[in-house]
């Protein structure tokens, strides 16, 4: 009888101990852009995760976006990496090549897997999926197009404008201070008050036109450099010509002083502009209350209709002492229900194939007051993303940031017309080729 009592007491202690057992502690590093209130919003998501878990507790390490790479690299050098983080796209495959990222291939069941186009892959191993699906698009102010009697940019890839049609439309939309367009005699290119187009010249964005022309930065397998091809050079020159020759786009300097996309469109500073899907939620929705009526279309094409897709990935570090828990957290973070406000708010597009399965499901996240009319959004954004998007090379190429920095190191001289695209690319090509060969996955 006494023995029985001891056994019961021991069993009770064990049960109690397991109930109060310490949770597995993991860390998640994330960035905030301008205000720390963004970090507070991320913390709310983590609180939700913590409340849903019996065995795992996640703590956030919030870092300013400007210092993010520095912080992560310093932590890596000190062997103090967090368990998981959101990764800046250009450095992801460098970390994978160094063997620091965990293999995420088996984490998702087939029916819940993110789109293949969002997989960051190194030597066949998936090391992370984008937190969101983002593609490059054309946004335009409908009123400016109506006033100039110009047809709206096409909202489906099969009807994409050719470059010539795009420039012709931009010329009709550009106005100097006397109301003249570049087609009129006496047009004053030094005093343009409304630009026809702002084709985004961000270092990673502009090569999308080169891809459309049959070139690009590199081949999709990351094995062949394409930046020096005539197709890439032609595309680069075409974008530069928008300012230097066609007089339909702002200079790089003017562009850097422009307000956000919504205000640029609302005030008529530009009639149309290329940028990412995220602008719908980050920028354009802010001016809806002020009367902005905008539309969305597909990018102009040179040879084929194509856009870039991107999105920073959630990753788990192989050095994590609690890798299973870290992977579980990453999987939880990629679940759309945990970023639903961002998705319905127009900042993110879902990552899982199931959200693109049929129109009814698509409407659950894209048919609301923030998004453009669903019929237009579906063809110009969703279908475009599904059928015409190619990955920015940072999905598969290590150290794409180094290549990007080198390719764009003097590109302002091309944008400003001081040097031709051909001369510029020829000048840097040997260095680019060397860097490419050093980093090419072998």
């Amino acid at each position: 009888m006494k023995k029985m009592k001891y056994v019961l007491a021991l069993a009770f202690v064990l049960i109690a101990a397991s109930a109060f057992a310490a949770k597995i502690e993991i860390t998640y590093m994330a960035w905030y852009n301008t205000t720390e209130s963004e970090a507070a919003d991320i913390q709310k998501t983590l609180d939700k995760f913590n409340a849903s878990q019996d065995n795992i507790h996640v703590t956030m390490i919030a870092v300013s976006r400007a210092d993010y790479e520095t912080k992560l690299n310093t932590m890596a050098a000190a062997k103090q990496l967090p368990d998981t983080c959101i990764m800046a796209e250009p450095m992801t495959i460098r970390y994978a090549a160094a063997g620091l990222l965990a293999d995420m291939s088996g984490v998702y069941k087939p029916d819940e897997a993110p789109l293949k186009s969002l997989a960051f892959t190194y030597k066949g191993k998936v090391v992370g999926y984008s937190c969101a699906d983002e593609v490059l698009l054309v946004y335009y102010n409908k009123k400016i197009f109506d006033d100039a009697k110009v047809a709206y940019p096409p909202a489906s890839a099969d009807k994409a404008w050719t470059w010539k049609e795009f420039v012709a439309a931009a010329k009709k939309l550009t106005k100097d201070q006397n109301g003249k367009t570049p087609n009129d005699a006496g047009f004053d290119a030094n005093n343009i008050v409304s630009y026809g187009v702002d084709f985004n010249r961000l270092s990673w964005m502009w090569p999308v036109l080169a891809v459309s022309n049959g070139g690009g930065v590199m081949s999709p397998d990351g094995q062949k450099l394409l930046i020096g091809t005539p197709e890439s050079i032609e595309a680069l020159q075409a974008i530069a010509d928008l300012y230097t020759k066609d007089h339909v786009a702002p200079s790089v300097g003017d562009k850097s002083n422009m307000p956000s996309l919504d205000v640029s469109l609302l005030t008529g500073k530009v009639a149309m502009a290329t940028s990412g899907q995220w602008e719908i939620g980050v920028s354009l929705k802010n001016s809806l209350k002020d009367g902005l009526v905008y539309g969305v279309g597909v990018l102009p094409k040179m040879k084929k209709a194509v856009t870039y897709n991107t999105g920073g990935p959630f990753v788990a570090f192989g050095s994590s002492k609690n890798l299973a828990a870290a992977k579980q957290f990453v999987k939880w973070m990629s679940d759309e229900s945990n970023g639903w406000d961002l998705i319905t708010g127009g900042i993110w597009m879902p990552v899982s194939a199931k959200y693109y399965a049929n129109e009814k499901i698509m409407r659950t996240w894209a048919d609301n007051d923030v998004h453009p009319p669903f019929a237009q959004y579906k063809t110009a954004v969703i279908d475009y993303a599904m059928h015409n998007a190619v990955q920015v090379p940072w999905y598969y190429f290590p150290s794409y940031d180094k290549l990007d920095t080198l390719i764009n190191s003097g590109i302002n001289d091309v944008w400003n017309g001081n040097v031709t695209a051909k001369d510029y690319i020829s000048g840097i090509l040997p260095q680019v080729q060397k860097l490419f060969d050093e980093n090419r996955p072998k």
Binding site: E69, A77, L100, N412, N416, I428, Q431
Partner: protein, 295 residues
């Protein structure tokens, strides 16, 4: 033979020196040894380093795409900032050395920029340089001159940063002012007696007497401005087209952004040797133009 008291004094001295020596050792000497060691490797911070000998140095002088650009940008900035800074600070100090109304107030006004945090002043200046609404282009517009892309133009970016830096040289003004107040009045009065004018006083008394102060300001300012970082980090990010790719910013970018710690360490060693050599040259040549009273 040392007495007990002398020994006690020595021990006390070492005890007082210990914090400074520890600081010197752990914050300066130790990291420098580390930098030398890292510069001989291909360390990325992500993988185990491999010893590569002098490969990083060879690469910098033969194939590094950014090195020459960075040296040119750094020298352009440093020389521009130092020369214009000395002219500006000396001129202001001369004015503040006169018996002007509210002299104390004006001295404070010119010193204030020095105590403003550099990031803060960078942001304010970036607003003034803003092409559409900035104050400089507003005045240019008033006189019918087209707007200038101050920070985005290859021509104007570095001069714009130089102007911003020179504005912040309040400490140099104070040092010049202290120097001017030590110019012996007897010498200046001697010029009056000899029938000389203000220019003669300036050229033959003030300038020679001020050469040690000019030398000090030149040297310190040159070392400081060669190590310029904040404007490139906060405003231009090395742009446009590498015109503001200053050496310290390049070292930071190579090391902390692009994981080339070995390469960055080699760059910083080369830069260290360059500054040391330049300092030695300035010291060596100073004997020819510097005047010390009593020599």
């Amino acid at each position: 033979m040392k007495t007990r008291r002398t020994r006690g004094t020595t021990v006390t001295a070492y005890l007082f020196l210990t914090p400074a020596l520890l600081g010197l050792f752990f914050i300066t000497i130790f990291p420098m040894i580390g930098v030398i060691a890292i510069s001989l490797t291909n360390w990325t911070g992500l993988e185990k380093p491999l010893f590569t000998g002098l490969e990083n140095f060879k690469e910098i002088f033969t194939t590094d795409f950014y090195f020459a650009k960075s040296v040119a940008a750094t020298l352009y900035f440093a020389l521009g900032a130092v020369i214009s800074g000395i002219i500006y600070a000396f001129t202001v100090a001369l004015m503040l050395n006169q018996r002007v109304l509210g002299r104390g107030f004006w001295r404070s006004v010119f010193f204030i920029p020095y105590i403003v945090p550099s990031i803060g002043s960078c942001i304010v200046w970036s607003w003034m340089y803003e092409a559409n609404f900035g104050v400089f282009n507003y005045f240019l517009h008033l006189v019918g001159i087209n707007k200038i892309q101050w920070l985005q133009s290859s021509t104007y970016a570095v001069p714009s940063l130089i102007v911003m830096t020179v504005w912040g040289m309040g400490s140099m003004i104070v040092i010049f002012l202290a120097g001017l107040q030590n110019v012996p009045r007897a010498y200046l009065e001697a010029v009056d007696i000899d029938g000389g004018n203000a220019w003669h006083k300036f050229r033959h008394i003030t300038i020679p007497m001020m050469t040690p102060v000019i030398f000090y300001n030149f040297l310190m300012s040159m070392i400081t401005n060669l190590q310029v970082f904040v404007p490139a980090y906060a405003l231009t990010h090395g742009e446009p087209s590498g015109r503001s790719l200053f050496m310290v910013f390049l070292i930071y970018r190579e090391g902390f952004m692009q994981n080339n710690f070995g390469h960055a360490s080699a760059l910083s060693l080369i830069f260290f040797v360059f500054i040391a050599a330049l300092t030695a040259v300035i010291f060596a040549t100073s004997k020819k133009w510097m005047f010390y009273e009593g020599e």
